[in-house]
Amino acid sequence: MANSVVVVGGGIGGVSTIAALRAGGFEGDLTLVDAGPFPYDRPPLSKDYLAGNTEIKDIALQTPQWYDDQQVRLITESSAAALRTGLGAVELSDGRTVSADRVVLATGGRACVPAIPGSDSSRVHVLRSAEDADRLRAVLAPGARLLIVGAGLIGAEVASTARGLGCEVVLADPVSPPLSAAFSPDVAAWLHSMHEKLGVTTVRAAVEAFSETAGGISVTFARQNQAQTFDAALLAVGMAPETALAEAAGLRVDHGIAVDRRQVTSNPAILAVGDAATYGAEGVPVSRSEHWEAAQYDGHRAAAAILGGAAPADSAPWFWTDRHGVHVEVVGALGNADQLLQRGLVGQPPFSVFALQGGHVVGAVGVGDSTAVRAARRLIDRGVTVDPAQLCDPATDLRKLVRERSTEGK
């Protein structure tokens, strides 16, 4: 068993690793190194925090007291400079070293910056950290012209927040509707259509160039002759895993820090969790679930691996997103279904869509329909078969259905 663990990165993956280590009985030295003022939660950065409804202290992942109670040495405004696992230590950016039998890399990712000319302008933003959100918030005055490049989860959430602040928002994406595989086509189309209804202009185009002008930033869209001028642009086109430390330490990196099912990297003393890590089955990287809960589960698995205990049970991946006043949740996968079943009417929340494969639920999306998504998760995890007619009948009590079907399976 390890005597000292250093976790690098205080996002949900890093903090969950620490919490799970202590909950699992780890009594050794535990250090968390984070670049920010303290570990904070990132989902609000595109929503309430960006809107100015909450302050940074309100989105702390844990209270200061918690780190004391858990006997965690929290080193903030710092980062790891090098992993010296051969020597059982991590070297920090300020030159200090911290002893570590095991290192957990929870370094997250950077916002992707596509090779668009002019994207190095100070008017072009990205959104990963609270500093990014602060910088973006400063330009979101009423009437400000904001271009959002990419209508994925972050782009759509920022469009909603910026519109709520009274900005003139243009949301550009070459794909229409975006997120069709994640949400299922009808739900994706309806969700995307909300933007226009709420006063966001959606443009089906890629951006070819940015150029600064006296009063703003001029944007050239593909296949459009006339450039448009904005006060600011946000690039919301995905993230790239932060692997520099891992590469310098000689770890195997393939679309992220390669880990096994227990989050262990190619060096048995180093683990990786969250957005930085990529699990590969037989050496082939499996698509990463770049979501909050996936990072939390990674942390639980990493802690179990360090403690030498049984890994926690797997559950279908789950995420949520909020835009234009609706709460959307997805569990499992909707992309490869034999059958998509609507429960309620798409476009009239609450409603949900279940994805079935061979009589089993494999995914679900719910809009304002948390119960359906939680029911679906249990149906997926427990592998029970369901009657499609029962499932999509809004009169069916899904809690009761899950309870009955789960008991039958036992």
């Binding site: 949900i12 919490a19 918690w66 949520w320 709460h327 948390s370 939680r374």
Partner: protein, 111 residues
């Protein structure tokens, strides 16, 4: 029993479901969720999740826990103790008693 507030009949809450009792009835800062576990027992805690504006009475109730309908933090039905992020604070639990099929609530008053 005389100090409890009769708030509902046991038959009003199916197993695995919850209802919210208005703060005007309970005299507390928050509405109180009556949560009936899948074993039939009824528990009570403040209805608003300690993390965000969500009603725990609409959560998923199973095996001694309620799961918040917004971000899935879990709370222990008996004690209100939070089980995992994103919530970090325990929910305030209240005492309930069931007598002759009636549910009586003993709200813990603010200190």
């Amino acid at each position: 029993m005389k100090h409890g507030i009769r708030v509902a009949a046991l038959a009003d809450i199916p197993e695995g479901e919850g209802i919210a009792i208005d703060r005007a009835v309970t005299g507390t800062d928050d509405d109180i969720a009556l949560l009936r576990d899948d074993d039939g027992c009824v528990w009570a805690m403040n209805n608003t999740c300690t993390h965000a504006e969500a009603s725990l009475a609409e959560g998923w109730i199973e095996d001694g826990y309620v799961e918040c309908p917004l971000h899935s933090s879990k709370f222990c039905l008996k004690t209100g103790a939070v089980q995992g992020l994103p919530a970090t604070r325990d929910a305030v639990a209240h005492r309930v008693e069931v007598s002759d099929g009636e549910i009586y609530l003993f709200p813990r008053q603010k200190s």
